[in-house]
């Protein structure tokens, strides 16, 4: 039996060897193109010549160091091949990269009169280990599930879009479970007149799933725009432009962008003055059809998944990143911007670090859309537009949502758990600008339907930001500027501000902490007024310049302002602007020193501990959590400041608490000795973990 099985295995193995044999063809600048070239000892001279010799998928063309003045396509069109690898010999041998140079100068650069890419790679083929330069219409074009890896792609240009790399999936995806991979490249100093100075990816799902991975790349000093065309758009994506699309409801498109460094790129407005989007990265879904499932992730959880996005600029929106979500009919579209580091990016019109744009624009739209900007560090970014210029600011983040007859829960826009510090705006929203817009009859045809635009801004730290116009002043909303606008009585625009720490922000005027505005409007027939809802709960607003929370907003009519369970303390002028009608001591609002440390974290004895909304879920807070959420950015989370393990309420953790635990030690829920007062981790056991926590807090007290 075993011999039979062994023979069968051998037969399969031999068959596999026979069908997967891969030839390697060599190319060197000292080689000669002839019928016998291609071996290591007798290399060909030209890469395309060697590519043309490939006979089987899996064949490799290996290129020795040297400069190759040619522009080629792999695999050879009409060859029937799908997977040919062109790699530098240095890559294959582990030698230093950069000396195998693919140079389009005089061949396919702009001056050649035949501007084109240096490399075209198709289907499942691979290009890796080269320096690719002087392409006249991008450095590399990739079509399908290609792999473009370990290259330096620099000094390429285009008069259209995609300066360094243009990549497209769609119908070029020839096999399931494949992906387009752009990994481990340095993409620098490329230029495009249109969008995508460094990289432009169009990833439509057409039949087979479209999957794109962009990982471990460094994109620096790429420039998109300005486009001189008559009426041309501004450029999208100084470093990188990503479009997804989907042809039918069954199609999927996904892009994952992780662990890249995006530094010093620029996106310019058009010559006609239309704004640019995304100095570093621009992402959009559903731009054309968007009928299927589309997902784009910029960053992800984990140390190796974050992107560093810094020093990028745009003459428009989103100095670091601009994301644009437009879910299509019946579709599920998601964009996540997660766990990235944004620093020193600039957006002229808004969103110095991040710009999020969410539009549900079709009255018959049955699709869902989710836009999440979470767990990012957004520091030292700039929104440079001046007051009165129509800009909406947002030095760190600018989020805008437009709902046109799309009800909740079809749409979700969440900005959570971000650290937004030391950003500035010359107009409004030094740290953040939030704008929700809802219209129940966007077609103005008298057919009104429920419409909801809601931005959830939760568990964020907003500190040390500035809304300051050094010239003439007039900037406002040092930490947060938030506004809602709604047309018609079936339209609701909601800003939900929950579990925030808004501290030490600066402003020229208005509120240094949170500036609120509401614009209920009549629908087009002029009959009914829209609703604007502002909720501010469980937050700490302290140490801000001028007023803590205020703005030209008066609750009443179709404007509701729900302010509960906040601690507003030591704001320069007043904690609350009078028109908000907030009285400390009512509705859970207090005015007590929140006891923040240098990182704006409430200390053990802060009055904000266990002072949030009693109805808010507290289970995620670590035990002991007092059975009630904390206020501030960490409230309700696993990082919340724990409650003092003072089991007898004498405001000190001492031996009496330990003795209580000693008595109960070893017992569990339901047991006669079980004592929930000393079950500090809430696991139903009085055990060593409780003792450990007690010991760690031993002798700590609250005054």
């Amino acid at each position: 039996m075993n011999r039979i099985r062994l023979a069968a295995v051998c037969a399969v193995a031999l068959a596999s060897v026979g069908t997967s044999y891969a030839a390697t063809f060599y190319v060197a600048t000292t080689g000669t193109d002839n019928a016998n070239c291609g071996s290591s000892s007798a290399p060909c001279r030209h890469i395309q010549f060697a590519i043309d010799k490939a006979q089987n998928d899996g064949d490799i063309v290996r290129v020795k160091n040297g400069t190759y003045a040619e522009c080629f396509i792999v695999p050879t069109p009409g060859s029937g091949l799908a997977q040919v690898t062109v790699e530098s010999d240095a890559f294959a041998t582990g030698a230093p990269l950069g000396s195998a140079i693919l140079d389009g100068a005089g061949v396919c650069d702009l001056a050649s009169g035949a501007a084109g890419p240096v490399v075209v790679v198709v289907d499942r083929s691979v290009v890796r280990g080269f320096k690719i330069q002087h392409g006249g219409d991008s450095g590399v074009w990739g079509f399908g599930a290609v792999a473009i890896t370990n290259n330096t792609i620099t000094g390429n240009s285009t008069t259209t879009y995609a300066g360094g790399i243009f990549a497209y999936t769609g119908a070029y995806i020839s096999a399931a479970d494949t992906k387009l991979a752009i990994n481990d490249n340095t993409i620098s100093s490329n230029t495009s007149v249109g969008s995508g100075g460094g990289l432009y990816v169009f990833a439509p799902g057409v039949g087979l799933p479209s999957s794109v991975e962009i990982r471990n790349n460094t994109l620096t000093n790429n420039v998109a725009g300005p486009d001189p065309g008559d009426g041309a758009f501004g450029a999208f994506g100084g470093a990188m432009t990503i479009f997804t699309d989907s042809l039918t409801t069954l199609d999927t498109a996904s892009v994952v962008i992780t662990n890249n460094t995006i530094d010093g790129n620029a996106a310019h407005k058009s010559v006609d003055g239309y704004p640019a989007y995304g100095g570093g990265i621009f992402v959009a879904t559903g731009i054309y059809l968007g009928y299927g499932t589309e997902t784009v992730e910029v960053g992800d959880f984990g140390a190796d998944n974050d992107n560093a996005i810094r020093n990028n600029t745009t003459e428009g929106y989103g100095g670091g990143v601009s994301v644009n979500l437009q879910p299509g009919i019946g579709a599920d579209h998601t964009i996540k911007v997660v766990n990235n580091f944004f620093s020193n990016n600039s957006g002229e019109r808004g969103g110095g670090g991040v710009h999020g744009f969410f539009l549900t624009g079709d009255p018959d739209n049955g699709g869902t859309g989710t836009l999440e900007i979470t767990d990012n560090t957004v520091t030292g970014n700039h929104a440079s537009g001046l007051p009165g210029s129509g800009v909406l600011g947002g030095g760190g983040i600018f989020a805008e949502m437009y709902s046109r007859r799309t009800p909740l829960p079809q749409v979700s826009f969440e900005i959570e758990r971000n650290k937004i510090q030391s950003n500035d705006s010359k107009s409004i929203g030094g740290g953040v600008s939030l704008f929700a817009y809802s219209d129940d009859d966007p077609e103005q045809n008298g057919v009104a339907l429920p419409s909801a635009a809601k931005i959830d801004f939760r568990n964020n730290l907003v500190a040390q930001n500035s809304a300051v116009n050094p010239g003439t002043g007039g900037a406002r909303g040092g930490g947060v500027w938030a506004a809602g606008r709604a047309f018609g009585d079936q339209a609701v625009a909601t800003i939900d501000l929950d579990f925030l720490t808004v501290a030490s922000n600066h402003t020229d005027s208005g509120a240094g902490g949170i500036e609120l505005e509401a614009y209920p409007e009549l629908d087009d027939p002029g009959n009914t007024m829209g609703f604007v809802e502002i909720e501010l709960t469980n937050s700490i607003i302290t140490g801000n310049e001028l007023i803590g929370t205020g703005g030209p907003i008066t609750p009443g009519g179709t404007v509701s302002v729900d302010v509960r369970y906040n601690d507003a303390f030591d704001n320069e002028g007043a904690d609350w602007e009078a028109n908000l009608g907030v009285t400390p001591g009512t509705n859970g609002n207090i005015s007590v020193d929140p006891g923040l440390d240098a990182q704006f974290t409430p200390q053990l004895c802060s009055a904000t501990i266990d002072a949030g909304d009693p109805a808010a879920p507290f289970d995620d807070e670590p035990q002991p959590n007092g059975g009630r959420v904390n206020m501030g950015e960490l409230g309700g989370t696993a990082n919340a400041t724990r409650t003092l393990p003072d089991s007898n309420g004498d405001d000190i953790v001492d031996g009496v608490d330990i003795l209580k635990l000693a008595v109960a030690f070893g017992s569990s829920t339901g047991g006669p000795r079980y004592d929930p007062a000393v079950d500090f981790d809430g696991d139903g056991n009085n055990d060593g973990s409780d003792l450990s926590y007690l010991a760690s807090m031993y002798a700590r007290s609250c005054p």
Binding site: G655, L659, A662, V663, F665, R673, Y698, A699, S701
Partner: protein, 204 residues
């Protein structure tokens, strides 16, 4: 619980200390407070022969300025543990550590993971916040303490010369010390009717 006596003693000692301060020629030490090798410290307990239901400080060993104070228990049944604070003058005395190796709570070979001995002497200046207890009266059992036995030993040294009656030499128990007893494993409570007794140090 009888702690009044110690409190009265502290009050008297404070008056004496004020008097000493007001009359510098009456003494207060001559070696500048270094607690040097020539200094000999001696602990004198308030109650050298403690009776039943007493937690008392008694003298341990001493070497030069260094001396030990035994925290002892006498005549307490069903003891699970104790929590208390020892007050001292941190200018006159330096607390050097706590030794639980001879603790009565270790009787019967109770494993270490069923014992807890904790002290903190930094949170409150002049106080050592101490807990010594068995964990889990069912698994570990309680201790019937008959004759005087050590709960803990505290290590001190004198920082300066301390004359008899010098308030800087006083060692006592702060308010609300607690000793927990368990009549049965599920009926534990703070023991009543205890006497907590301190003492005083001299250093020459």
């Amino acid at each position: 619980m009888r702690i009044r006596r110690t409190s009265q003693r502290l009050a008297v000692a404070a008056l004496i200390a004020l008097a000493v301060t007001a009359l510098p020629s009456c003494g207060g030490g001559s070696d500048g407070g270094s607690g040097g090798t020539s200094t000999t410290a001696t602990f004198t307990p308030d109650n050298p022969t403690p009776g039943t239901n007493t937690i008392a400080m008694l003298a341990g060993g001493s070497t030069g300025a260094a001396f030990n104070v035994r925290i002892t228990v006498t005549g307490v049944n069903d003891m699970l543990g104790a929590a208390f604070r020892v007050t001292y003058d941190p200018i006159a005395l330096q607390f050097a550590g706590m030794d639980d190796t001879t603790s009565l709570l270790r009787q019967g070979g109770v494993p270490n993971d069923h014992l807890t001995f904790v002290e903190n002497h930094t949170a409150v200046p002049g106080e050592i916040i101490i807990t010594a207890a068995r964990l889990d009266p069912v698994a570990s059992g309680t201790v019937d303490v008959g004759p005087t036995a050590d709960l803990l030993v505290l290590n001190f040294s004198a920082r300066r010369a301390i004359a008899a009656g010098d308030a800087g030499g006083l060692l006592g128990f702060n308010a609300t010390p607690q000793l927990t007893v368990c009549g049965t494993p599920t009926t534990c409570a703070a023991a009543g009717g205890l006497t907590w007794s301190g003492g005083a140090v001299t250093a020459h």
